[in-house]
């Protein structure tokens, strides 16, 4: 079953690549990813999202958030069913503030200062080791995900799980809603991450 869940999004992505060819071309024509500025809404095509989430994209909503030496460009791909929408953000070093915390340093600080689960399959049902006496920090369990970018982590949430992927001096955060089981959501996000990584 797990293999099927892994394979299905990949197959879907192949079809999406065919169907979404025009959108991808458009993304490349408009720059897609250029140094200093990133159109995060061009990192995924509507066809790719429709192929994986099963619904068309009705709206893309870009936004930018600050982040000391980094900037986080966001895009919300809204589908008719909100829980199938996709939130994608790209954190990259800010060329205007080169001395502050870079995106890669932020990644190191956030993911490597925590004790993480050794295997992505082992979290559920396992007793949790107390890490440090800080409020709610006991529950931090980013789970490594193999085969994506330089590093990838899965952060579970009952309503909006997220997948983080590091590549070079940038990292992605992709989140979907609560539709489906966690394993299904993870496979879908991995497929979406692979598609976005190709354009970085």
């Amino acid at each position: 079953m797990r293999q099927a869940l892994t394979i299905l999004p990949c197959v879907a992505l192949v079809f999406a690549g065919v169907r979404g060819g025009a959108a991808l071309q458009n993304a490349k024509k408009t720059g897609g990813v250029t140094k200093g500025t990133v159109d995060v809404c061009a990192l995924l095509t509507p066809a790719e999202i429709e192929a994986i989430q099963g619904e068309r994209v009705e709206e893309t909503k870009p936004a930018v958030q600050p982040g000391g030496g980094s900037f986080a460009n966001q895009c919300l791909f809204r589908t008719p069913t909100l829980s199938k929408s996709v939130s994608l953000s790209l954190t990259a070093s800010d060329p205007l503030h080169p001395v502050a915390l870079t995106a890669r340093q932020l990644w190191q600080k956030q993911f490597h200062s925590l004790e993480v689960e050794s295997d992505e399959e082992s979290a559920e049902g396992k007793s949790v080791k107390k890490l440090e006496p800080e409020r709610e920090r006991e529950s931090r369990k980013p789970r490594p995900v193999r085969g994506l970018g330089e590093e990838a982590y899965w952060v579970a949430s009952p309503v909006a799980s997220a997948l983080y992927v590091l590549k070079g001096e940038t990292f992605l955060r992709i989140s979907v809603g609560s539709a489906g089981q966690e394993s299904e959501r993870m496979e879908k996000l991995k497929a979406l991450a692979r598609a976005a990584l190709k354009r970085l």
């Binding site: 909503k61 986080a72 966001q74 939130s87 932020l106 600080k109 409020r135 009952p158 309503v159 609560s178």
Partner: protein, 683 residues
């Protein structure tokens, strides 16, 4: 910048830390370095100032791992200081106060951060001093301990970051003075708001039957009324039933207003989907802004998170999609309200957007539900943070620390998530709100310009009025309970008002705000007239629940003591997570308003039974009666409420008979309006 510098020293620091850990592991006996001159001394109120030199300390611990408690040689130097008071602390401080002040100085040639700690005879850590930063050349930290207990203190010089072993010098003074007479609490003015407190009864045992006790829900051995830290409260505006949730129990309270004072009937309506809980949150999408009174219960345990809801006052519960699945980092909050224009097409016709906000590893995020909480959309980041020295902190203007308060939605659909620690445009830490005007699709952070973040923090609270004015209640860096008002979604704020001034409140915790009419708000907080470090096991403050009311858009406030004869807590209130004897109340209280404008505050009472009358009891040392967390509701029974339409009607109660027959029963001391003296006679 400090972050970057720390990174450069990490290899060196890791070596030192590793050797320290090895030392501790191989030698379980406490290691206390004493190379300073002299190694011990005694100070009293008559001895005058003292001074000594600490021996050189080097290396560093980068993060606070409690190295001051071990004090290994090389990293730390100890000086034993005996504090002598004219009489034992327990009696001396009833009429006197004292300050033990350390001026700690050093000189360095490389960037250096030394810290001073004072460890009391009871083992309470005080420190580091202030400013706690890295400097080159002359360095200084100052540390003041208010009302130090008598006995042997360990004063320690600790290297936080010292590439070259560095000696330090300390000058110490002990000043005593008569304890200032606390300002007499103002007598309740005619017409001032008044409250009756309703503590939850104990579990039914043996042949006991409600209403004198609570029957635990099926499958439970207790209703959890004594484990009610960080409670949520809400009211169904149709049925009038109130709900208070803590732990994994949702307690339903039915007030009988046909008798005076009203009586309360408590029931345990625990959701079957609420299993073990770490972060309980309840939310009633009440009729204030047109909600259908759906009751949500959110529970996080260390493995999964459960979100369920009820449309029949807790008799039946349904899980939302996603419940029972693994949960990573959380600290969730659930809220809801009308949509901003243009409202999305919704699949079920549920009138409100429901928001679930939380934090993960890099961002805090909010997720919206368009079907009444059955399913949720993706998590949209609301700000980014970084993990530094054991805390998630803001990293740039417009970002906040990781932990946030409760999400609220105003009538115009604007969504607010309050946070104690956000960076303004100059990277100064201030209380603020993350704001979304497009139904949670994008967010910005706005801060209160005259507020300063307190550390360790306590959640602020935001409330919204009928015409979208927002009120942000928070604990300022000086410990005072402050509240600011904005009429433009946080772009501009009024000058913050100190709501504890009438009672001389010096320290506050657990700010909670609710708004009714646009110009009327209530601000509840725990407050004590005792200054000093509320996190210290030695703290002797007595805490009460105060509620401040405004009927003038925040220009004036009337503050009342809702628990005048019964302390809510004696001693410290710990708000740094983990386990601590003073963490019995956990992290927040809650406040709501019913359809008549009556304010209800849900709180955990930490001082019950013999603690109420025994001033020697203390949360840090017990007994259990001073470390309780009893579910309690403070319910407004007098004064004006938050809806002008019900002024003078005693909240429209008394079996439907409007009290006062249209006369103004209760005035407003803040504006000089007097209640009609004949009001009661007309009842």
């Amino acid at each position: 910048m400090k972050v970057i510098r720390f990174c450069l020293w990490i290899p060196f620091v890791v070596l030192i830390l590793a050797s320290t850990v090895a030392l501790v592991v191989t030698d379980p006996l406490p290691v206390r370095a004493q190379v300073g001159t002299p190694p011990s001394s005694t100070i009293s109120s008559s001895s005058g100032p003292l001074a000594w030199d600490f021996g050189p300390v080097g290396g560093g611990t980068v993060i606070n791992v409690g190295i001051q408690d071990i004090c290994p040689p090389g990293l730390c130097d100890d000086h034993d200081l005996t504090v002598v008071l004219p009489s034992p602390a327990a009696t001396f401080y009833q009429t006197m106060t004292a300050k033990l002040t350390f001026q700690y100085t050093w000189t360095s040639t490389l960037p250096t951060d030394l810290d001073i700690f004072a460890i009391s005879p009871s083992g309470a850590d005080h420190g580091p001093g202030s400013p706690d930063n890295t400097s080159t050349g002359p360095g200084e930290e100052d540390l003041t301990v208010t009302d130090p207990i008598d006995g042997l203190w360990h004063i320690r010089s600790v290297a936080s970051l010292a590439p070259v072993p560095t000696a330090a010098h300390v000058a110490v003074t002990l000043m005593i003075a008569p304890r200032p007479t606390a300002p007499m609490p103002p007598p309740p003015a005619p017409g001032a708001p008044t409250f009756i407190n309703y503590p939850a009864p104990d579990d039914c045992t043996g042949t006991q039957q409600p209403p004198s006790c609570i029957q635990p829900s099926t499958g439970s051995t207790t209703a959890g009324e004594h484990g009610a830290g960080e409670p949520s409260i809400g009211v169904d505006w149709n049925t009038g039933k109130a709900f208070i949730e803590a732990g994994n129990h949702t307690l339903r309270v039915t007030f009988n207003d046909s008798v005076n004072p009203a009586t309360a009937f408590w029931e345990d309506k625990r959701s079957p989907f609420a299993r073990v809980s770490l972060d309980p949150i309840m939310f009633v999408d009440d009729g204030h802004f047109g909600g259908p009174n759906r009751l949500f219960s959110s529970q996080l345990n260390l493995i999964t998170s459960e979100l369920s809801f009820s449309d029949d006052n807790g008799n039946n519960w349904l899980p939302t999609q996603g419940s029972g699945q693994p949960a990573g980092v959380d600290h969730q909050t659930v809220g809801g309200g009308p949509y901003a224009f243009p409202a999305p097409l919704t699949p079920t016709g549920y009138p409100h957007g429901i928001y679930y906000c939380s934090q993960d590893i890099v961002t805090a995020f909010c997720s919206r539900s368009d079907d009444g909480g059955t399913t949720f959309g993706p998590g949209v980041p609301i700000y980014t943070f970084a993990h530094v020295n054991g805390a998630d902190v803001p990293i740039a203007p417009g970002t906040c620390g990781g932990l946030h308060g409760h999400v609220r939605v105003s009538p115009d659909g604007t969504v607010y998530v309050p946070n104690e620690n956000c960076f303004d445009a100059n990277s100064v830490s201030r209380p603020g709100v993350a704001v979304s005007t497009d139904n949670g699709l994008s967010w910005v952070v706005r801060t209160v310009p005259d507020g300063k973040s307190i550390s360790p923090g306590t959640d602020p609270s935001v409330g919204e009025g009928a015409n979208n004015t927002i009120y942000l209640g928070y604990v300022n860096s000086d410990g005072h309970a402050k509240i600011a008002v904005s009429g433009d979604r946080g772009l501009h704020w009024s000058k913050s008002k100190d709501a504890g001034t009438p009672f001389g409140v010096q320290n506050a915790e657990f700010a909670e705000v609710i708004v009714g009419d646009d110009d009327r708000a209530a601000f509840a907080f725990l407050g004590t007239q005792t200054s000093g470090d509320t996190q210290s096991a030695d703290f002797q403050g007595v805490w009460h629940l105060y509620v401040a009311f405004t009927y003038s858009s925040g220009r004036t406030w009337t503050t009342v003591d809702a628990t005048p004869t019964d302390a809510v807590q004696r001693g410290c209130i710990w708000n740094q997570g983990g386990s601590n004897p003073c963490r019995n109340l956990l992290d927040f209280n809650d406040i709501t308003v019913d359809k008549f404008g009556r304010v209800l505050v849900g709180y955990a009472d930490g001082c019950t039974g013999s603690c109420v009358t025994d001033p020697t009891q203390n949360a840090s040392t017990g007994p259990a009666s001073a470390q309780d967390a009893l579910a309690t509701i403070a319910r407004q029974v007098g004064g004006r409420g938050l809806f002008k339409a019900f002024d003078g009607t005693q909240f429209g109660t008394q079996s439907g008979v409007i009290e006062g027959h249209g006369k103004l029963c209760f005035g407003d001391p803040a504006t000089g309006i007097q209640g009609d003296p004949g009001c009661k006679a007309n009842n």
